[in-house]
């Protein structure tokens, strides 16, 4: 069976660190950063990129539309 791998790209300047995408991710891929963007928010990033399946749950719940989702079949 083809393995599906995904990745997300977060617009870190647009992200407000609300944590909703982190909670929505079914595979615990995302986390909030220890550093801050220019507005002072800890932004979302891929802590475990290998676990991402590109399901786009994070993008669907993001209130600020700052997540792009990519997916490939290997």
């Amino acid at each position: 069976m083809a393995k599906i791998k995904g990745a997300v790209l977060v617009d870190t300047e647009r992200c407000k660190g609300c944590d909703i995408c982190v909670q929505a991710c079914p595979y615990d891929v995302l986390a909030l950063s220890k550093t801050f963007n220019t507005k002072g928010y800890a932004f979302s990033y891929m802590l475990h990129p290998d676990q991402c399946i590109g399901c786009a749950s994070c993008g669907l719940v993001c209130p600020d539309g700052c997540i792009q989702v990519f997916k490939v079949k290997e």
Partner: protein, 252 residues
Amino acid sequence: MSNPIIDPKNLVYEKSKVLSDNTMHYCPGCSHGTAHRIIAEVIEEMDRQKETVGVAPVGCAVFIYNYLNVDFAEAAHGRAPALATAIKRLNPEKLVFTYQGDGDLAAIGTAETIHACNRGENIAIIFINNGIYGMTGGQMAPTTLEGMVSSTCPNGRDVAIHGHPLKITEMLALLEGTCYVTRQSVHTAASVRKTKRAVRKAFENSLQGKGTSIVEIVSTCNSGWKMTPHQANLWMEENMFPYYPLGDLKDK
């Protein structure tokens, strides 16, 4: 970019082009942003960006015209359905929708809302219900739950003094003029998908001249509720959904 998967040819999801690149002024985790994004996606899918007129409310979403790249009119507080009536009657081929909060639709604008729905105007109403006046500092709204704390009822809403929470969507479902009345939420990926289908149906109904469609979105106001966005979502599931149950109330 170091990750080879991040390539435009592998893109499966991004925000709609109808949603502008302006950073929204909403608090982190606010349901308004998700609702805006859903509306933008539906307008893009229906290819009606140039044929849509929105009517903005008074409330946090007063700046919605900054975020959706479609024509907008700003109504006086609560009068969005009345303004949308005029716009739709003068431009029957346009997709006309209002976007209103509970303070706008269920408090000061109750009369306009009920009469526009009773006349069966061919507009879609997107109703954001977070049980509080978010913009002005978290005061009690008609939709505030019994026992729910707000800045003007610090001991919780007392039904004996303040009356019962207003289920205005149920009231609107009774009217002959409404064709589609539904209550949804936007706190999980599954609920976002359902809400998107509901908004699409409401927009299509308005174009087909079936009558007024109302999509209530039970939302959070984490700043007003004094919670983190995630806590607010859990609180909403636990407390809001039993009183404001999700699902279609009317579909004809």
